[in-house]
Symmetry: C2
C-alpha cells in the first residue's frame, strides 16, 4: 500500500469524525508536512477533505471517479481490479493502450480504465460514445492458456458477466445480443470489443474492452434510437465504482470457471440471457448475408441458424437484425 | 524515387564507366554539391564509389547489406519488398518491431529487415541465432481479409515459399518440417514465426517472421547439431539480397493465390515438400504427447496422425520428433 492509499485508509476509518494531523503523522511514520502534502494530492484527485488547524482533517467523500484506490476498496476479487490498474483521465482508447501494455509484458488481470475516450472503438472500426465520467470505459488484459480458436468464447463470457453485474446491482433486465452487445429494452447499454494476439498456435494475450453507458443523460442524435444508459432506464444515477467492481467480480469468477471447467455451464447461462434464441433474423456478414431462425449456440461459440432453405448455417460473426 | 535512389540508378547505368558530376547535376536537377552530399551518404551506407575531380564518379559495387535500394533493384514483385521497407542495422526482433508498426497502421506488404537481431525469437519463447550480416532476418506485415482460424495456413504458405526460393537459387533440397521449420540434410536452415492480431472475428494483421541462415560459417555449440546454413551446405557464400528477393517473389505469388483461390494447390505442394508424410513421429504438445504415423495435412492446416491405438488425431502444433 502506497502512502496515499494508507492515508486514505486512515481518513475513511475516521467515519465522519476529525482525525488529527499529529495522529496521522505518528501512525504513518511521516512528518506532518508530508501528511499535508498527501492531503493536497488527494484533493487534487477530487476527494473532499475538510481541514482545520485545530481539529485536523475530516473526510467528506470520494470523488465520482474511477480511481484505483476506489476500485480496490472492498472489491471481492483476487486479481482483476485488485493488482495492476492503469488509470487515465483521458485516453484515445483503453483497448489501444491495453494492447500496448500487453505487448510490453503487462500481466494477466491488468486493468486499464479511463474517465473519457477520445476515440472509443467498437467492432469493425465503429466508434463508441465515451463522454467524460458518464460511463465505464475499461480494458482488461488476459493471458489464457488456450488455443486461439477458443478466444471468441471470451467475448461470450464477458457478455454473461456484464449481464450478471447489471442484474445484481440494478433493477434492469439485460439481454445479450450476440456477439458483443448488451441491450436493455432493445437498446445498447454496453458493448464489448475483444482483441487477441497469438504467436503461432498459442494465445499471447487477449484484451477485453468494455464500454458501459452508466449515467449518460443523453446521446447524440444518430445514437438516440440505438443507445441507452442505466440512468435513462431507471431515472437514477448509479455509482460507477460499484458497478465496475461487480462486473470484475463476476468476470473473474466466470473466466476462471471457463479455464478450469470449460464453457458448458457458461454457454447454458448465455442461452438464458440471449435475446436471439428462437428468433427470426438476418445476419449481415462481410461477404454475404443469411436469413433464418436462431437455433442455438454451438460448442465453439458460433451461432447456429436454420436458414430459409432449411440448411444449418454456422455463423461466427456479423450484424444481426431481428425480424 | 528519392534523390538517393535516383542517383544510384544513374551511377549503375554507367556500367563501369565514369559519370561526370555535371551530368548528374543536370539530369537530376540538383546542384553539384548536392550530388556530392548524396555520394557521401551512399558511401556511408557501404557503397563503393570512386571519385575524381576531373572524371566524376565511378560505381564499383554494392555493399553486402540488405539495403532497401538493393532489395527493390530488379525485384519482380508488386508490393512485397517494393513499397514499404524499414531497414535496421540492428534490432531486438524484427517481429517485435513489425507488430509495433502494424499496430500503428503500417500497410500490407511492409517489410522489416535487420542485419542483426539481439533477441531474435522462435516459437514458444525460444531464441533465433541472428549474427550480423550472416543471415536474413525479416518480418512482413500482412492484412488478409480472412477469418482468424485461417491464419495458421499462412505459416504453411510461408514454408512453401521459402522452400521454392531455396530450390530456385541454390542447389539444395529443402524439406518442410511442420509447422514452421525448413530443413536441409536434417538440420534447420530457416525458421518461421507467425504472429496474428485479431479484433473480434476479423484479422487485423499477421506478422510473418523469417530467419534464414545464409552465410553463417559456424554455430554456437548448442546449435551445432541442429542448425545449418547455405554456406555450410554448399561451401559457397550466397548473395542475401538475391535470396530475399526470390523469397518475396515466391511468397507474394503464393499468398495472393491463397487469398484468391484457396489453399488446395498450395497444400498439395506443401505435401510434396514436407518431410513428415508417412513418417512415424511423436508430437510433444503443451499438455500431452501423441505418437503415430503422419497421414496428411487437413483442410484447415492441421496435421492428421493415426495414433498407435488406431485413432485419428488432429494436431495444430507441437514439437515433432521423427522416429
Amino acid at each position: 500500500m502506497g502512502t496515499k492509499d494508507e492515508l486514505l485508509w486512515y481518513l475513511r476509518r475516521g467515519e465522519g469524525c476529525w482525525v488529527s494531523g499529529e495522529d496521522l503523522s505518528g501512525k504513518m511514520g511521516i512528518s506532518r508536512s508530508a501528511v499535508w502534502k498527501q492531503i493536497s494530492r488527494l484533493r487534487q484527485e477530487g476527494y473532499a477533505i475538510r481541514s482545520s488547524s485545530k481539529k485536523g482533517y475530516l473526510f467528506l467523500g470520494v470523488p465520482e471517479m474511477l480511481l484505483p484506490a476506489e476500485i480496490r476498496e472492498g472489491i471481492g476479487t483476487e486479481i482483476f481490479g485488485r493488482r495492476d490498474i492503469a488509470y487515465f483521465g483521458e485516453l484515445d482508447s483503453t483497448n489501444r493502450k491495453a494492447k500496448e501494455m500487453a505487448a510490453e509484458g503487462a500481466p494477466e488481470g491488468t486493468l486499464v480504465v479511463a474517465e473519457e475516450q477520445s476515440r472509443g472503438r467498437g467492432r469493425i472500426g465503429r466508434s463508441w460514445y465515451s463522454p467524460a465520467r458518464e460511463g465505464i470505459y475499461m480494458s482488461l488484459i488476459l493471458r489464457p492458456k488456450l488455443p486461439p480458436n477458443e478466444a471468441p468464447k471470451i467475448t461470450l463470457v464477458t457478455g454473461v458477466s456484464v449481464a450478471e453485474a447489471l442484474l445484481a446491482v440494478t433493477p434492469l433486465q439485460p439481454a445479450i445480443k450476440w456477439p458483443n452487445d448488451i441491450l436493455v429494452n432493445g437498446r445498447k447499454i454496453c458493448g464489448i470489443l475483444t482483441e487477441t494476439s497469438t504467436e503461432m498456435d498459442a494465445i499471447d494475450f487477449v484484451v477485453v474492452g468494455v464500454g458501459m453507458n452508466v449515467n449518460t443523460p443523453e446521446f447524440p442524435d444518430e445514437l438516440n434510437e440505438i443507445g441507452t444508459s442505466i440512468y435513462l432506464e431507471t431515472g437514477k444515477a448509479f455509482d460507477r465504482v460499484t458497478l465496475l467492481q461487480e462486473f470484475l467480480h463476476q468476470f473473474e469468477q466466470l473466466y476462471f470457471t471457463f479455464l478450469k471447467s470449460g464453457f458448458e455451464s457458461i454457454g447454458k447461462r448465455w442461452g438464458e440471457l440471449s435475446i436471439l434464441m428462437g428468433k427470426d433474423v438476418t445476419v449481415q456478414m462481410i461477404d454475404r448475408s443469411c436469413s433464418g431462425r436462431v437455433l442455438k449456440l454451438d460448442r465453439d461459440g458460433a451461432l447456429i441458424i436454420r436458414s430459409e432453405n432449411g440448411e444449418l448455417e454456422k455463423i461466427y460473426s456479423g450484424d444481426i437484425h431481428i425480424h
